[in-house]
């Protein structure tokens, strides 16, 4: 039992970091933000699932996927298909030439619900599909790439191509997917109106809870022998292979896990935002997701969450204030992080906290740990936008 605590929670320091994040997500944000802002944070948290997955597969596994938007999108689309069918009951669509099918199908002269859509009447099938479809695609990509020893930059390019292909495919198959507009006007989940404030609050807490679960699962993987193997493979792939390990199977596993996390994020995104479109699938969103992980620290599961929040707060602030400058700022940020802070916010935090501890130690003041925790808590209390930066620096461990 104690071993499991050490393993999953990461002992005392891991627990502190996790608690700070939990307090921030489950108490500070809900208490201090209005429902509109909170819903926005919930949307960012949906992206954070992708970033947490990227920490596993990129940070630890050395597999840089530039196609995580594919899995995010597939998870989101699976959820959107279910919600769209529910929103397209024959009564509310009676003005269509074919009532009972999604509106965009009617606009595209489709007169019967396509076979691909049929199973999405069932919620349990949908939940399964949210996880299984992206994971199966990741499995196929993984088998095709890693078994043939396609790696490094070639793998990144292939995943980028796949994200371009999928977004083009979705846009092209307008009658089946809603095309460039995506699947919109989602209303209820099994009769429960997801557009109300109370639903948004519940969905926010669901996202935050699932995200923390994913982080715990990530920690379980990283602290197991498999986690050490991932790092060993990243640095000395040949040695691992000639120690009797099928390197490809481990890469496929971690890539599938990252795909699964991204898919959960996609489904939560659809539920909270009320639509899904190809603009979350293509190359640009996929690269943005890598930037979240890079800014937060690609070796830190918690850092990835802070990185996602920071970049997205920055994005909404700057794109409102200097819309034309935002993309340049984003590019500059990525370059700066790669050049000066290769371990992102988590790396900065590690360094600064060590310095702080050393400084406190040299002053021989009270125990070093206690003021540190208080500093974190007070910083976490300031949850207005200007405070985010401080929180990130303080708590990105």
């Amino acid at each position: 039992m104690n071993a499991a605590y050490e393993k999953i929670v990461g002992g005392k320091s891991g627990l502190t970091g996790l608690l700070v994040l939990a307090v921030l997500l489950l108490l500070v944000f809900p208490l201090s933000l209005d429902i509109f802002r909170l819903n926005l944070v919930g949307k960012y948290l949906a992206y954070a699932f992708v970033a947490v997955g990227l920490v596993l597969c990129w940070g630890y596994g050395g597999i840089l996927s530039l196609g995580q938007g594919v899995f995010f999108g597939l998870g989101g689309y699976c959820m959107a298909m279910f919600l769209k069918l529910e929103a397209s009951d024959p009564i509310s669509t009676k003005i269509q030439s074919t009532p009972g099918i999604p509106d965009f199908m009617d606009w595209n002269q489709i007169t019967e619900l396509p076979a691909m859509w049929q199973p999405f009447h069932s919620f349990s099938f949908t939940l399964l599909a949210v996880l299984a479809v992206p994971v199966l695609l990741a499995l196929v990509i993984g088998l095709a790439m890693f078994k043939r020893r396609v790696g490094d930059v070639y793998f990144s390019i292939v995943t980028q191509a796949i994200s371009a292909i999928l977004s083009i495919l979705i846009i092209g198959q307008q009658g089946l997917t809603g095309g460039v507009n995506g699947i919109t006007d989602l209303k209820t989940l099994m009769g429960w109106d997801i557009r109300t404030d109370s639903a948004k609050l519940i969905l926010y807490f669901l996202s935050a809870g699932l995200l923390i679960l994913c982080i715990l699962l990530g920690r379980f993987i990283l602290t197991s022998k498999l986690g050490r193997l991932l790092m060993a493979m990243r640095d000395k792939e040949e040695r691992v292979r000639f120690s009797g390990y099928d390197v490809a199977s481990f890469k496929i596993f971690v890539f599938c896990i990252a795909a699964m996390f991204a898919a959960i994020g996609g489904a939560m995104f659809t539920l909270q935002v009320g639509f899904m479109s190809p603009s979350f699938v293509g190359i640009v969103p996929s690269i943005e997701m890598v930037i979240y992980a890079a800014v937060g620290g690609r070796m830190s599961l918690l850092g990835a969450v802070y990185g996602t929040l920071l970049v997205n707060f920055g994005k909404s602030y700057f794109s409102e204030t200097f819309p034309e400058l935002w993309l340049f700022l984003m590019g500059g940020l990525f370059i700066a992080v790669v050049m000066y802070f290769p371990n992102g916010l988590a790396g900065v935090y590690d360094k600064q906290s060590k310095r702080l501890l050393a400084w406190l130690g040299s002053r021989k003041s009270a125990t070093a740990a206690a003021p540190n925790v208080i500093a974190e808590k007070t910083a976490a209390e300031k949850s207005d936008k200007s405070g985010i930066d401080i929180i990130n620096l303080e708590a990105s461990k």
Binding site: S224, K225, R228, D235, F242, S243, G244
Partner: protein, 255 residues
């Protein structure tokens, strides 16, 4: 325990039988119709000038390079048709020319990584450091003179200790065939002596194939020496026979 060259007299089947092995890279035959047999308890040293194909032979055995033609039989397995990790699992261990260890892990963790359990995804997720793992790691660490350094991070070891650590990682796998590419490169004289003793001990019950340039070291460990030249065997036999072979002197040892 005797250090006598058992390989000569042994009448049982060879552990490793390489027959008509050829590999050609764009028409260049790095290994050309090679025949090589290694017995149990034998330490075989492969020598030869640069580019003779020594490392390529090891690459072929461990599956890093695939053969153009010919066969490599290890016990009852045809290695030319197997993947690298499967070859390791049937009992072939390979040490690389430059020490290949996990620098940011401790000696203990390095050895543990090679413990032959939890080699699949699920097994690795649920792997536990049980008492038998600890015991095995400690035994091997003592064998490779790193008993006192179990919790040292591997990149803090000396070059020679890193070489031993990699040998130790192979021993963790309990291989029947151990292949070492230049194990004493960069070692001090005393480290070389210790390595020679180590090889003597670990060859009991298994076969060891060593590539080495240091003739003094070769003399101290070899039961039998194979001289490669341009992908073919130039001479084979005891150290003494090989050393006095005029062709070997001509192409490799010098006058």
């Amino acid at each position: 325990m005797s250090n006598a060259p058992i390989g000569f007299a042994s009448t049982d089947h060879p552990v490793l039988a390489i027959e008509d092995l050829t590999v050609s890279f764009d028409g260049f035959k790095a290994v050309d119709g090679l025949n090589l047999y290694v017995q149990r308890n034998e330490v075989r040293v492969v020598i030869g000038p640069n580019g003779a194909g020594k490392t390529t032979v090891l690459d072929l055995i461990c599956g890093k390079t695939s053969a153009t033609s010919g066969s490599i039989r290890f016990n009852n397995h045809e290695l030319t048709k197997m993947s690298e990790h499967a070859i390791v699992r049937v009992g072939v261990g390979r040490k690389f020319q430059t020490p290949s260890i996990y620098e940011n892990l401790s000696v203990f963790e390095n050895l543990e990584m090679s413990f032959p359990r939890g080699r699949k995804v699920l097994g690795a997720l649920l792997f536990k450091r049980s008492p038998d793992v600890v015991e095995r790691v400690e035994t091997v660490a003592a064998e490779i003179f790193l008993r006192e350094h179990l919790y040292t991070q591997a990149d803090l070891l000396s070059h020679g200790q890193k070489q031993w650590l990699e040998i130790g990682m192979l021993l963790m796998q309990e291989p029947e065939l151990l292949m070492l590419d230049e194990p004493v490169a960069g070692m001090s004289v005393s480290e070389r002596e210790k390595t020679a003793q180590l090889l003597g001990r670990i060859s009991v019950g298994r076969s060891v194939v060593v590539i080495e340039h240091d003739m003094e070291f070769v003399k101290s460990i070899a039961h039998k020496v194979t001289v490669l030249h341009q992908g073919k065997i130039l001479a084979e036999g005891s150290m003494e026979t090989v050393q006095n072979d005029p062709r070997v002197i001509d192409v490799y040892l010098g006058h």
